[in-house]
Amino acid sequence: MIVVFKRLRSFVDVFFSGDAPLPHRGLAQLRCLGAFVGLAAYLLVTHGPAAWLGLRTIGTAITGWGTQTGLALQIESVLLNSRTMGLLGHSLGLAALVTSGSMLLGLGGAVWIVTRPNWLSRLARKFYLTPFIIPGYIYALTWLSLLSRSSVLAPGLERLFGRLPSPYGLSGAALILALAYAPLAMLVMLDALEASEPELIEQALLLGPAGRVWRRVVLPLSWPGAMAAAGLIFALALVEYGVPALLEFNVYPMEIYAEFSQSGDPRRALLLALPVMISAAILVGGSQWLLRRTPLASRPQGAALLQRLPLPRLESGLTWLAVLILAVGSLLPVLVLIIQTGSPAVALAAVNQARQDLLTTLLLASSAALGATLLAMAPAQRLAASDHMPPWFWAVLLAPLAIPAPLVGIGLVDLANHLPGRSAGVGLVLLWAAHVGRFAPLALIALVAQFRRREPLLHELARLYPVGWLRRFWQIDLPLMLGGLSTAMVVVFVLSLGEIGATLLVIPPGLGTVALRLYNLLHYGAPASTAGLALGLLGIILVTGGLWAGYHQRGAWKIGQSD
């Protein structure tokens, strides 16, 4: 007990003060209060829905599970049977394959970009995230239509392979998800590689050829970054169900849906979700903890040196292969959407018909981006300020990534139904809270990464600026943070555009989002309208991303250029 208490106390000290000593007492108390309120708000919004369901489950366990059976029997009937365990095995296997595939592709793509300082790699650097922002179900459906017997590619593929390669089952689901998550792996690996210490590489070059430097120095240095990306992708793949369902591969999250549809009891759904939630939370938290000091923790330093570090022929060939696969994987679905749309008029008509949903979607995504980013700021600043936050704290903060989306919606609706009275505005708050709660952990990761790239010297200099704290925050601290804030906001904005799982359960009557409309159109069987609307959505995302990138390149947020 004493050891636990001491550790807890040391954690509290580190959390509230960072690694730096506390300044004078008044400011320290104010900062403590701010950090505490910020952390509490973050935990409330991100964990609230699942925690509420958990409390209800514990409550019923104490009072007896309704008129049926006790908690132990519920656990036994829901969790402990061979079929459930088999499905968990399916999900773990799929997640492992997806992680391996996306990491190999991401690593290959990242190495290709950092070793080739030409216009093609600069272009790739601008657009490599595109596939990640296409909703997964659209991505899977375009591949399915490409590999169907009636597609234009079918005759050629049949001549090549003897018969059409089937996209269904474990291999198809793994391949398509690996392609979808590869850009995420690439994002982290690019940062990891470019953050390599140039001194280490230069010293290694004195002792051996470039190939050996890559294998023995550069890649091992990026290992923590790779582990962080792998943990995140594994967790995301573990709770994924839409794409595996489309590709006829039964996974564990599907069982959660089936259970809830049969029993209508959110507590049983929560019990069933616990194994994936716990394992994914440990993986995400652990892997991001690994990232605490390395790659993203420092400013890019080794980029220029890596451009001059030639790859051996075999490795170079492999990076070209990865880039080729990524390029085909990114461009073909877009091409299919363009072909299916047929003409710009169809796309415009589809967008026009959905204009109200489009407006709601954009407003929702923007406000969710703002909310999630602001909510993640306090814990992100604490995490960025200290290398000594324990792994369990990372796991707690990032655990919401492992909560299946419908559970977030069910928890929020259930919670709202237990509040006295309910006005129309509550529906909007629920919708907003669902999006913010789901994506605030990703905003947190983006913010931590960006905060750790800030130049400590600038902050030290800012402390010497002889003005009040508010003015200093407005004129120096905020501009220094805006790069990170905008990155986090764009991440949440893009993911919010495609959210369905929680939205469906909490969307207020009379409102709709583009993602929901797209799914309805898919069911209706209107491929041209679906493709047109998907293209419209993709266009909006690309324009948003382009504006963000352009804004960053202009350096408008640098101190001195801002107002």
Partner: protein, 332 residues
């Protein structure tokens, strides 16, 4: 753009979203949850709005969420209902909601002409037109003499593994069909049918529309789906044909749309107006014309398909057992 504009912009978005919602609440409203495809339901609601001045706030179901969508939502909102009307594209979930005490009685005068078999005797729900279960066949991959004529023909060994498709039988009309077979044939023969389908390598896909698309694309030779899905493929000129099974025997399953009043909904008067409107012969005729419904419950076509005789309460009773069996059989 100044450095703070992005923050102002995002704040304004939230404000606008709130204002839009407040505006939406100003007119008399009715809240409807519907699993009918949005492209069919939306024009009906617009016409109702024009006729009555009552604003319809609709929530549509999505294939992604299956039955965890609207029915789950109604269930979780039990203590504080937000919906007034539930318009389902099938019947089993409506019966489940009735069983759970989530529906209220309303004897609509517009339900008068609807046969007793398709409306609840106490007034908890009324039928609105029907769709039927059909076998959809790809005409380029199956010769006319091989077209299946009965459900039992799906078990013919001439169909290889992965050539016959079925939507996930835990959800939607496929779940209702399975429960109807449990009620009609008895649990053991019905389970044996599905076991044999599974043993022959039936493809369990993500929905009836996916069965349609895969048959239309030639990825499957045939599959079970609904009339509206099959009609959509035929209208699109796909090489498919639609077959009503068991026309020499018990007939095919006709599944009515159902309309019900939600217990404790916030706008009961407007809800009754909408239910009356939805159950009107004009709306039923419009939905038949649009291709969503296969036929009218009031005036069955003289040369229409032979329908199964169904006791819906028996179907509702079999639903849970059928789902448990099929979950164990197919989801593993």
């Amino acid at each position: 753009m100044s450095k703070h504009n992005i923050l102002y912009l995002a704040s304004m978005c939230f404000l606008l979203l709130s204002l839009a919602a407040c505006k939406a609440q100003a007119a008399p409203t009715v809240v409807v949850y519907t699993s009918v495809d949005q492209p069919y339901a939306e024009p009906i609601f617009e016409a109702f709005e024009q006729q009555t001045g009552i604003r319809v706030l609709a929530i549509y179901d999505a294939e992604a969420a299956k039955t965890t969508g609207l029915v789950s939502r109604l269930s979780t909102e039990r203590a504080n209902p937000q919906a007034d009307v539930f318009w389902s594209s099938e019947i089993a979930q409506t019966l489940w909601l009735q069983d759970q005490g989530l529906l209220a009685v309303y004897q609509s005068p517009m339900a008068e002409g609807i046969p007793a078999a398709f409306r609840d005797s106490q007034g908890y729900w009324s039928g609105l037109g029907y769709r039927t279960r059909v076998i959809i066949v790809n005409t380029t991959r199956v010769a006319p003499e091989d077209y299946p004529q009965t459900l039992a023909d799906l078990l013919d060994p001439k169909w290889g593994a992965g050539e016959v498709g079925l939507a996930n039988p835990l959800f939607g009309t496929t779940a209702t069909h399975a429960a109807a077979l449990y009620a009609s044939w008895g649990p053991q023969p019905a389970l044996a049918f599905f076991q044999q389908l599974e043993a022959q390598g039936v493809r369990i896909v993500d929905g009836n529309s996916v069965v349609r698309d895969m048959v239309a694309n030639g990825d499957l030779k045939l599959g079970l789906t609904d009339t509206d899905d099959a009609e959509a493929a035929i209208q699109a000129g796909k090489p498919v044909v639609m077959i009503f099974p068991d026309q020499q025997g018990e007939g095919t399953l006709a599944i009515p749309n159902t309309v019900a009043l939600v217990a404790g909904g916030p706008n009961p008067t407007q809800a009754q107006a909408l239910i009356d409107y939805l159950l009107s012969p004009e709306v039923e005729a419009q939905l038949v014309l649009d291709g969503f419904l296969y036929g009218s419950l009031r005036t069955p076509a003289a040369e229409g398909p032979v329908m199964m005789s169904v006791d819906w309460s028996a179907v509702a009773q079999q639903m849970e057992a059928a789902k448990r069996d099929l979950q164990a059989l197919f989801l593993r």
